[in-house]
Subunit: 205 residues, 8 copies
């Protein structure tokens, strides 16, 4: 049983019973388990069969965490969001990285239309080892942050927006076209994937 | 003959002879004439029949300027570009506004991936009366500028880029989704339209 | 506390309780507050904690208005709509401009398929200082109005329509391609953005 | 050999020799022949083997016309265009209808951004039996005309434009979404199809 | 009061009360009234205030028909559908044409994947004066029918399908690209527009 | 060296020298070699180093054929095309299947807009073992043929067309949405892939 | 009554009563009947009038099977899925092929991101006569399998995924672009079509 | 002058003279300089003024390399390509990473349609510190590799392909939807961005 490598379940499209059964059986041989895109109703069913399971409401994650490794306190993952509506996706990334054994810091609601709010966080941004930037609408935050740091920036487009945001397409295209150095992009709303990649990079040495 | 309202010709898809004929006949009754999307070859033919015609090479504009009105030196239009490749489109906007009788300032190559370069121009940005922001790729500059000022910002997406820029679509969508106050958008590469709208707004009182 | 600059809350995706809490706390230091994309249910909760809050049902806006400035009665913003189904979006624009201290006139249901209805409003159109044109389906009204006036026209595409309207895409593209002078475009259904920009321009002098 | 029903060749993608051979062999048994999307070079080769062939330069049509039927002078097809760049496509429609034995009238360069120019042609519009409206960019002319008449309007989107016109897509969508009565749409740049349909309708009684 | 020209209401997005009020007031001065995209619930409310109103369940049309003109029995509109799921849209077209005073025939469920079923209807197809072809999925029926007749064919794409039908886009594109003579296209699911255009053409002489 | 399994080179994007070198080296150990998307210029270079190489001009295929197996004369692949412009793609499929050891029959220019032309070929269609249908524009031929036979139909969309054909997208979508039994689709213009699949299926027993 | 050729009903968009009526009447003259995209509620109504009808819950298929032919045990169709969420679509394909008289094997949840799981099934893959590969998200499984076998592979994209999967578009495009030999593609989620085509090919000899 | 951080010029859209001037002036204060998307003609002009400049023909990169740092021989970047046509883009990535001071290994032409070729490179894949996967067409290679390793994988879609590859869109979407752990994506053909990000990650410790 390797520490820091939880088994992961994608709950969307599964019944609460299926999720509970899978988690219970994974719990036999795994240190940590992560179930993303879960519902409160699923959690109730899981809790009944696996009492140590816990639930994060905002990112909708059920998890079991038995890993005892201490995260490296010098190397932290910074998760940023442009708006408040992007927070659930940002939290999916943050919690994923945490459960995988990383120290995580958060800076939320610092969209580029109020850029002074962003600059108030210069210090934490400069000290981060890996940065995840969650943004919907025009997704411009990733470029600005990418230009400020020499560390890898994982751009995480969200489906937040309306009209010509086309459910995250505008943010996705914006991020793919970023001119800043060190940026790469994951799927729309894929907080889990961003958190996992951040963890992989953050542990490189 | 009203000052500040040039006649305009869209040259794309016309022959040099057609452009020359139209310009010559417009020159009889108009103070100023603007021919956009022209070529050097067209200019040669125009010049032969209308010697006072002049040519801006970068924005590909042939023009006749007889207006004698002095632009209001207190109210200027600021034209910004994110990259150097956006300059031809930005210049189409700038020259259009100038020929329509406006004072125009330029701040080019200040993309958001190097945001300190942008902030070095704080003063001129704050003093502008109307701002045009030309940007291709991810088009994020419009949002950042829109968040810095209380004046109208005309977002001008350009077709500069490759891959998932889809010939300006990424910049266009990004700008339409901007959360900043006071932004509106014109067609991809429509420097002329941006310059004309800026002129209309700049003369309001 | 500057007059005419309300704080704004985007309610979509927030709970009634969150909206009420934010409005109550903003009410301490702000003259006017605007909460867009609200529901009647949200209003009930807000009203309970902030009795002076009021609700516009058609544009779904909760607001507090304490500004005492008189709008300039010579310079008015004209809000037009092509169909009756576009009215909620048009009203979001109109109410936004009003709360920001502008005189607003309305001309609704004057789509281009019955152009005589449009021309019956020639006078008010010619006298407007800024015009917002809300239209779904083919969005052609913006071009026609843009060609009639020398003032800025803010084209506001709506998601009204079906089939090949693709939720406002047809209107958006149509407006971006307008040949008329002085037109720019905001996001689909972004009545708030159109109203705010109209207010900014209407106060220029 | 039925009068008014020419054989038709689509030249794009064929060699001049192929076009010449096909036209020569069709000329044996047909009254009229129409070759669309032809080039001047093709015409030279055709002319050599079929001297009675003629060429319309603007719509790029080679044709043989032996029909002697007089078009009905009471019922005419009106072909309109929004801009001057739409004229080649409009002429493909007009010439097609003429060769099929219809009286055709033309009203060009009457885009909706200068709607007074359109209204100067009220009489001819009201007297037309079928109307073809060729327009690129925002394609709004079809809706305005459709609202003015009780006769069928064939909307003919053109690929004229740039940026978000997406090679005629904006005009196509705009026309499909028209609220005016009696409008239907053909493919982008399909002047031939519009002219043929107009002829079919114009001959109904 | 002209016969054969009903007033039309588009019910989608209106309340039952609004529909009832409009229909009642239109009933004072109009011979016939047509309310499309209605619901049974709307009909109940309308019926209460306007007892002569009737309801077609399949196409969801409420109507009042007082016209006494006899349709021309020699010239009929033929409405065809490729599948049974296309029938509601086809009926919107058929009923619209009927209320406008046309004789209408129907041939349903004759998709091209079973082309013998189509050919069993050769006679009625050859005798029709105008044909409307409603089809979703691949929309191929319009081309086949267009090739069989010398009369106008109105292609009516429907949103029937799944996957790569993209809500009618596949059928729409297919119909726009038809090589058959005499075809034009209306918006996806726009049975009303197809019926109205068919009526206009069917009455030409 | 297995008979009937040629090595294949995709020439697009390679230099004539590269193609020649690859073919020469493959010729040492292979019975048959197929080089698709070749040019006449490439052929000249190949011929110089590999004199037994031959060239099909229409499908642009260079090949070496040393296989001596006789194709099964009872089981043939039928390649059909809707238009004459589809023939190069159809021939890429046909020649591929032939070189792989299949008997191939061709029926070209039988688009659905003239369905009697199609039915003139009933016999050969009914006797085919596998059918490839190449069509651009609206791509309807695949559905009609698919409905006529109980054998597999490989739909091969081509980029033939203009306007809303979007370089083969209309045909591709149309074919994917076919209701006929036994149809599947390959990439736009992928005659090679269609021919190879047809060969695989044709040899099953 | 031919064995192995069931009549098929597409239930989506039909009422339970319509489905029951159709099935009952088909049951008079057919050996087997297949009703796809059915609901449990539909099954209850069908069962009441046609007691021999049975229901597969996962693929949502109601069926009657009276065929007594034994499937050829040497030639089996292999149905594979990349994820567990693809199983309902995969089962629609598998059950369709079974009811049409084929032996069917299943290998599920062998996505390419864990390619060793796929290779554990080498034997069954190599022995299959036809393979159906159901996959959503990136759809890569079809290419990998296509490269492993010399038999036909039917790629079946599913709408499983989120964000930039665009409801199956990513998988569809991926499969259409496969470089592997012998692959063709059916519509997104069209398990029935894949199963039917597999049956047709599997019976060829 | 920091080692390993070259200045970079994007040559596309610049004249040879502009490129030469910029490179010469950058050469005064920088250790290394990289000019991407250059042409041989540009190189000639650059070479004349900056004789130490060198040119990589395949990736079209002009560079000056004065850095003397030895790359860490234990940590290498692996650049993989699916096809031979992807090599120019892959080389842009590889050369970028090399000039930035990284050891780079290459494994080309190992597309998933011949997966044994891929597995022949198991060792080097497992030992890589960061992997870049360049692929056009269906882009499936990134998923397969991502599933094989625990290190970061940078997916680099290329515009290689035709038809429904839509200039790299299919590969881009495929990569964004990958289910494998540790994958992120850069813009289509953005070899430079991939190489730079790989370098940033490779130097983390
Ligand atoms: N660069 C441009 N982009 C869009 N519209 C333009 C441009 N330049 C000129 N126009 C418009 O084109 C009109 C002239 O078109 P034309 O009569 O074809 O020369 C002018 O009145 C302008 O409204
Ligand atoms: N209807 C609307 N559409 C777009 N943006 C809006 C709208 N209403 C408010 N906003 C913006 O949303 C911001 C507030 O967002 P939030 O902090 O999430 O409540 C405001 O500052 C406005 O810029
Ligand atoms: N099904 C329909 N699809 C499109 N347009 C329609 C439809 N039914 C009615 N209309 C149009 O909608 C107009 C009435 O719209 P309204 O005033 O909103 O009721 C009518 O004049 C028709 O032109
Ligand atoms: N016209 C074609 N379209 C698609 N794939 C092809 C075509 N011709 C050859 N191929 C494939 O390309 C492979 C050879 O590619 P290459 O190694 O780049 O020459 C062959 O194995 C075929 O699978
Ligand atoms: Mg950076
Ligand atoms: Mg601002
Ligand atoms: Mg104007
Ligand atoms: Mg009309
Ligand atoms: Mg016809
Ligand atoms: Mg069949
Ligand atoms: Mg294979
Ligand atoms: Mg991995």
């Amino acid at each position: 049983i390797r520490q820091g490598f939880p088994e992961v379940i994608f709950c969307q499209g599964k019944t609460a019973e299926q999720v509970a059964t899978i988690m219970k059986s994974l719990a036999v041989h795994n240190n940590s388990i992560l179930a993303t895109r879960a519902t409160e109703a699923m959690y109730a069913v899981v809790k009944a069969v696996l009492p140590e399971a816990q639930f994060y409401e905002v990112p909708k994650i059920i998890y079991v965490k038995r890993d005892t490794i201490e995260p490296d306190s010098q190397r932290f993952v910074l998760v940023m969001s442009a708006g408040t509506s992007d927070i659930p996706v940002a939290e999916e990334a943050a919690v994923t990285a945490e459960i995988m054994g990383n120290k995580v810091e958060r800076v939320y609601d610092v969209g580029v239309a109020g850029i002074h709010r962003l600059f108030a966080h210069q210090d934490i941004i400069q000290n981060a080892n890996v940065i995840i930037v969650a943004a919907g609408m025009e997704g411009a935050l990733a470029s600005v942050v990418g230009g400020m740091v020499a560390k890898p920036v994982i751009a995480l487009p969200t489906s937040v927006g309306y009209g010509a945001s086309f459910n995250g397409l505008a943010a996705l295209l914006s991020m793919l076209n970023s001119c800043a150095a060190g940026i790469s992009v994951v799927n729309i709303d894929n907080g889990f994937g961003a958190g996992r990649l951040a963890s992989i990079i953050n542990k490189m040495r």
